[in-house]
């Protein structure tokens, strides 16, 4: 079990939290996704990829916390193929200090699942010892919404998911997180270290400016492998098939209430 104790009287006065931000490289949200003819997955070859939008929000939040002096250092991490480095460069261009790339060989990439990613992140947390991990609430390709929660469980850290606001708690010893829940908003205080996942309304990510894009190229980007971290990437699930959703059939207009009832009866929907 991993235990990390912070001894801070006043978070604002200390040299600030160390934040680890997760970024995933996904098919760009504006692209029309196509299913492969053999139904084993979707077409990714030659398709535009970019940072998962919720991760962009997570990166933006980390950078803002640095600007507010709540955080001292922000580190971005991505688990993925060689091209994930591009995603990390974007994070660096937005203001992250340094990056870590856990490179996954192509053969294992398609079978990678949140359980593996959370184990890899947990291992990195052992050495990096962040005070706060911010992840996007879910990735727009698999929509799993699992990695943040699994990571918190593995580390035995508190979690505050679907965050729409992060600020110091009243006594400045904890973080006050506002969460978006079905019934509205829930505000909780969590002690650090903690895992927070970002929701849409947390912030609006900035454009990377040219000077920062240039600076990003010189910022450190370390590479690691799953073997080095001692994590087994054996898949636990097997994708049987991936299909397009059924084509929506045209509806029918009816002229009167009698018609409507008649049609409903025809379809056996009313007696």
């Amino acid at each position: 079990k991993y235990i990390h104790i912070i001894n801070k009287a006043d978070m604002a006065a200390s040299k600030g939290l160390k934040i680890l931000v997760g970024c995933k490289r996904v098919i760009d949200y504006a692209v029309k996704v196509r299913v492969k003819p053999d139904r084993s997955g979707v077409v990714t070859e030659g398709v535009k990829h970019s940072m998962n939008p919720f991760d962009e929000i997570a990166v933006e939040e980390a950078v803002r916390m640095k600007e507010k002096k709540l955080a001292g250092e922000a580190v971005a991490i991505s688990v993925g193929p060689p091209q994930s480095q591009e995603t990390l460069r974007t994070a660096l261009a937005m203001g992250i200090d340094r990056a870590i790339h856990v490179e996954i060989p192509l053969a294992q990439l398609e079978k990678l699942q949140p359980i593996h990613v959370s184990k890899l992140l947990a291992k990195v947390c052992e050495s990096e010892k962040p005070d706060l991990v911010i992840l996007g609430k879910q990735a727009i390709d698999d929509d799993c919404n699992q990695t943040g929660q699994m990571l918190a469980a593995l580390l035995d850290w508190p979690q505050a998911t679907f965050a729409s606001k992060i600020e110091p708690s009243q006594d400045s010893k904890q973080l006050r997180v506002t969460r978006e829940v079905d019934g509205g908003l829930e505000t909780i205080d969590v002690s650090v270290p903690a895992v927070v996942t970002s929701d849409l309304r947390l912030n609006e990510p900035r454009y990377a400016t040219l000077p920062n894009i240039m600076k990003a190229k010189k910022k450190p980007l370390a590479k690691m492998s799953p073997d080095q971290l001692g994590v087994d990437l054996q898949p636990r699930q097997e994708v049987i098939s991936v299909e397009d959703p059924p084509v929506r059939k045209a509806g029918a207009k009816v002229e009167s209430v009698e018609d409507l009832v008649g049609k409903l009866r025809e379809k056996g929907l009313v007696k």
Binding site: D28, A30, V47, E56, E86, L210, I213
Partner: protein, 508 residues
């Protein structure tokens, strides 16, 4: 491979999204064009009779002959809402044969006609002036073939440009032109106006990418030059006469277009600069560092950006600058292209007096947003009230001198003087806005702006064409003899002068 270039999936182009103001000038319908141009007299054409209407009904079917005044009205008003014609009849043929039969009848009866596609033209060339019959190509909207190997796309004239681009995308191709009106404009109209647009810099004009076309001449005869061959030097290239003729030499019914491969990687840099010289220096740098992958180079002045921010509420990620530049690259390899773009940015940042501020789009959302700052300028200016639009070609060094000159000349008389455009093509879009149409303002602008351009051997209409609005200025950019040769060609192909009269050539 699918690659969304500039549009969010659901949108259909800036023009389609635009909620047009009810009327920019008069709070209702635009004034009749004949009132704005009282000097133009109706040609010696026949009047439409019931017998004519019956003949048309026999050709296209009763459903596709529009006589109802309310419906016909929309075909009489141009997109900018500065023209209103008095056409009484709209015909909507489905096939080339129907078009041929219609035109043959009109030629015999000496009835004037106006070919109309998407009606997105900006010089009043696509709507009637008097009672010309509108022949709409909207129903001729079949894509006939796409050859993924050669890249040749053959389509009927009424196909909407954006839809053709989507079809091309499914084959890994793209249409060689792109303009703000793509959601509504039709390929026939694009050819008839030799439309330029945002990608001319990279893919050239339609004069190069159109391999063949089929058209109905003013006598009703069908001209079949619809070849899909890349090279065919057998005789005079008559299709070049029709391209850019703005519907005055015939009605284009089919086109064969050479489509380039759809780029795998499209990048966009958006820069803020503080002098026009910096814009020119940046352009030179772009051509050197980005060379073969540069696909667009547009500039926007601070007044245009102000209009887009204030009138449409769009946000600009950069601070206040005198000029903004959009530099887009399109290539086959993302890694290589990013490297080239990085090189360009490094040069731009290190060059004295060059770009001081800028960003690179990180995802499709940012890409679309940055492009909208340029593509929606026309829309934003319409919000001011009445827009006076000018589209000129000038030597690069003179482009902004004209804007500054006119801004001084119209100081206090207009809401704003906005300058922006296709810098890479030497094409300036110069627009003025007033709350309502002001004849005195128009007097201050014309012919002064055209004379200024003529004196620097520029073009008084770079890409919009002459239409109705600029036909009398043709000699500002073409020698008198050239104009007379054009008139001969017109007489040859259209002996009765029925095909889109009052447009392009001056009334003599």
């Amino acid at each position: 491979p699918q690659l969304l270039l500039r549009r969010r999936p659901a949108s259909a182009g800036a023009f389609a999204l635009l909620a047009r103001p009810a009327s920019s000038a008069s709070g209702g319908l635009p004034p009749l064009t004949t009132e704005i141009h009282p000097g133009i007299k109706r040609g010696a054409f026949s009047q439409l009779t019931d017998a004519d209407v019956s003949a048309f009904e026999a050709i296209v079917g009763g459903d596709h002959v529009i006589k109802d005044a309310d419906e016909v009205l929309s075909y009489n008003i141009d997109w900018l809402r500065i023209c209103r014609g008095q056409g009484q009849l709209v015909l909507r043929p489905k096939t080339t044969e129907e078009v041929s039969a219609i035109v043959r009848h009109c030629n015999k009866r000496r009835l004037a006609v106006v070919p109309q596609g998407g009606n997105t033209g900006l010089v009043g060339g696509s709507v009637p002036l008097f009672d010309e019959i509108v022949i709409s190509t909207s129903r001729m909207n079949s894509l006939l073939s796409i050859d993924p190997v050669s890249g040749v796309l053959v389509a009927e004239a009424g196909c909407v440009l954006e839809q053709l681009d989507r079809e091309a995308a499914s084959q890994g191709l793209m249409m060689p032109l792109d303009l703000g009106a793509k959601g509504s404009c039709q390929i026939g109209g694009n050819l008839a106006t030799n439309a330029g647009g945002l990608r001319l810099l990279r893919y050239g004009s339609l004069r190069g990418t159109t391999l063949g076309l089929e058209a109905v001449l003013p006598t009703g005869q069908v001209l079949d030059c619809l070849t899909t061959l890349r090279k065919d030097n057998t005789g005079y290239d008559i299709k070049q006469l029709l391209i850019g003729s703005e519907g005055t030499l015939g009605i284009i019914t089919k086109a064969a277009i050479l489509c380039p491969a759809r780029p795998k990687s499209v990048q966009l840099a958006f820069l803020g600069l503080d002098s026009f010289q910096a814009v020119l220096d940046t352009y030179r740098l772009a051509r050197r560092s980005l060379g073969e992958i540069l696909s667009a180079f547009e500039f926007i002045d601070s007044e245009s950006m102000r209009a887009v921010k204030k009138n449409l509420g769009l946000s600009c990620p950069l601070g206040e600058h005198s000029f903004y530049v959009l530099a887009e690259t399109s290539g086959s390899n993302e890694t290589h292209d990013r490297e080239k773009l990085d090189g360009f940015i490094e040069s731009v940042m290190s060059m004295d007096g060059c770009a001081t501020d800028g960003t690179v789009a990180q995802d499709a959302g940012q890409f679309a947003h940055l492009w909208s700052l340029r593509e929606r300028i026309v829309e934003s200016l319409l919000v001011d009230g009445y827009e006076y639009k000018y589209d000129v070609s000038l030597p690069l060094a003179d482009i902004y001198r004209l804007v500054e000159h006119m801004r001084t000349r119209l100081d206090g008389r207009v809401i704003r003087t906005a300058g922006y455009g296709h810098l890479g093509d030497g094409n300036l879009h110069l627009n003025f806005t007033t709350p309502k149409f002001d004849a005195k303002v128009l007097e201050l602008i014309e012919p002064h702006v055209f004379d200024w351009v003529r004196d620097r051997r520029g073009s008084v209409s770079a890409e919009h064409g002459l239409g109705l609005k600029k036909s009398q200025y043709i000699r500002h950019s073409k020698a008198d003899f050239a104009v007379r040769v054009m008139a001969e060609v017109k007489r040859l192909l259209d002996p009765n002068g029925i095909m889109n009269p009052y447009k392009v050539l001056p009334d003599e």
